[in-house]
């Protein structure tokens, strides 16, 4: 059986093979049983120091990573750009090298620039885990999404998954496409034409502009948030109109012949892409996704920490 990942860093799902993802999942299964015990902690990474460097706001991902690190007994250092010397004009490499000079072994980084994590791995020694870079990838989110589908349905292979919403600005969408396709699922993207990248069908995904058609096709609907903060121009007339066309409501969900699973990577804009009664319904696994996030991140950190950087 495979016991090591084929990569040294986790920059994107694109670098992972199906056995890599299976290994992360089987390890995450074990960690899920750990975090459901009375004592939710193991001493595996007690000699490892991890810096969480967030150049962009995040609550869920940062807390999830921090919890995963603490449950592995790692020492955790939190750093957010808003309260740092980055504001004084320090470069990314200088900032990170200064942190590494204090003997940090791993870096978990979120950055608004696409490729920032790749850039870091070329220039520093520590193990890098991407917690989201620009509109590129958000690998741990995709892993926990697929892990949650596997948990709910027993498998990922052959599942029909629709990713609905702002595909253009979404790193979650891209990572999800790579992850689900590697595991043998069928993927469809759905959203307003302005928010679907022009060449996305070259990735082998189906493209649909009609929400009801996408919902009727899929087993799992992954609803994405409209990322207003990334939109410098108007991509649709108003959020109200977006909701009318692409919002998932209880009425739409109930009109389907089968019961589909509803996912959302958070943060939810209730009443925009998904209504409250759907988000809180029995078909929604949104909170399971959050729980699984900790187990999956523990697995990723555990597997990457075992590799010595100099090897």
């Amino acid at each position: 059986m495979k016991t090591a990942l084929s990569v040294k860093h986790l920059i994107g799902i694109k670098d992972l093979s199906a056995p890599d993802i299976e290994l992360i999942f089987s390890t995450a299964d074990n960690f899920k049983s750990v975090i459901n015990r009375p004592i939710k902690k193991v001493p595996s990474l007690r000699d490892v120091t991890i810096a969480n460097i967030f150049f962009e706001n995040s609550t869920r991902t940062r807390i999830s990573f921090e919890l995963a690190e603490r449950r592995l007994s790692a020492d955790v250092l939190n750093f957010s750009a808003s309260s740092s010397s980055v504001k004084k004009g320090e470069t990314l490499i200088d900032t990170v090298n200064n942190i590494l000079a204090m003997k940090v072994d791993m870096v978990v980084m979120r950055h608004s620039s696409t490729g920032a994590c790749k850039f870091l791995t070329d220039n520093i020694d520590a193990v890098v885990v991407n917690a989201g870079d620009g509109t590129h990838e958000h690998p741990t989110q995709a892993l926990l999404d697929a892990f949650s589908i596997r948990e709910k349905h027993g498998k990922v292979k052959g599942m029909k998954v629709a990713i609905i919403g702002d595909i253009l600005h979404s790193r979650v969408a891209l990572s999800n496409i790579f992850c689900l396709q590697t595991l043998g699922a069928e993927v469809m993207v759905c959203g307003p034409p302005t928010l679907i990248p022009k060449y996305i069908s070259s990735l082998g995904v189906k493209v649909e502009y009609n929400l009801m058609k996408a919902l009727e096709w899929c087993d799992v609907a992954n609803m994405l948030r409209i990322q207003l903060e990334r939109q410098d121009i108007k991509y649709f007339p108003s959020t109200r109109e977006y909701t009318m066309q692409y919002g998932l409501t209880k009425q739409r969900l109930d009109s389907l012949k089968k019961k589909i699973t509803v996912m959302h990577p958070g943060p939810i804009n209730r009443g925009v892409e998904i209504t409250s009664d759907v988000a809180d319904s029995a078909q929604s696994i949104i909170l399971d996704q959050v729980e699984n996030g900790v187990a999956v991140r523990m697995a990723v950190l555990y597997l990457l920490a075992a590799k010595q950087p100099e090897e």
Binding site: T3, A4, S26, N30, R37, P38, I39, P43, S44, K307
Partner: protein
């Protein structure tokens, strides 16, 4: 690579019988005792003993669990590759205030047992922990850990390996000394 029999399948059966009777001698009706096997290889021995004890002591159901030591090991970063974790199976109620018999197949450096104790203590505070091993490789300990019940004591050198094989995992029963030359 030469192999030498340490315990044949018949001898192994006798040894298991003896270990069961020793356990009964000390734990009577197993009212406050739980048996816990160490993953990955100790669980085969533990399952056998548990089955035997249950058939020897009719009308008692001895709590049984399995503990994985992977996340508690001290060598996981020095090997250069991660060790694959095994499942934990601690579904019975509690080890709080119980007598625990920790079961592993081969006792060598004692490091696995150290990790096993740490893993065990994350499930509660047992009254007492005893160690049962099938094979005790004497004079090779790195830590001050000694077994309470021993199937067979042997003297080995570092380059040799001891492997307990089980019908359910390897096709046949027996304990082997493996000489790597």
């Amino acid at each position: 690579m030469k192999r030498k029999v340490l315990l044949s399948s018949k001898q192994l059966e006798l040894t298991l019988d003896r270990l069961c009777h020793q356990l009964i001698e000390n734990h009577d009706n197993f009212k406050d005792t739980v048996i816990i096997g160490l993953q990955p290889r100790g669980v085969y021995l533990a399952r056998r003993l548990h089955k035997k004890l249950n058939s020897l002591l009719k009308n008692t159901k001895i709590p049984y669990g399995e503990v994985d030591t992977t996340f508690y090991r001290d060598d996981f970063r020095s090997k250069g590759h991660p060790i694959a974790p095994q499942s934990m199976n601690m579904d019975f109620v509690t080890i709080e205030n119980k007598n625990v018999v920790l079961v592993d197949d081969v006792l060598h450096t004692g490091r696995t047992i150290r990790a096993g104790l740490d893993a065990l203590l994350d499930f509660g505070r047992p009254k007492k922990v005893e160690l049962l091993v099938l094979i005790d490789r004497r004079f090779s300990r790195h830590l001050p850990i000694q077994p309470d019940y021993v199937g067979k004591k042997i003297d080995t050198i570092v380059s040799q390996n001891v492997k307990a094989e089980w019908k359910e995992a390897d096709g046949s029963d027996g304990v082997w000394l493996i000489m790597n030359d």
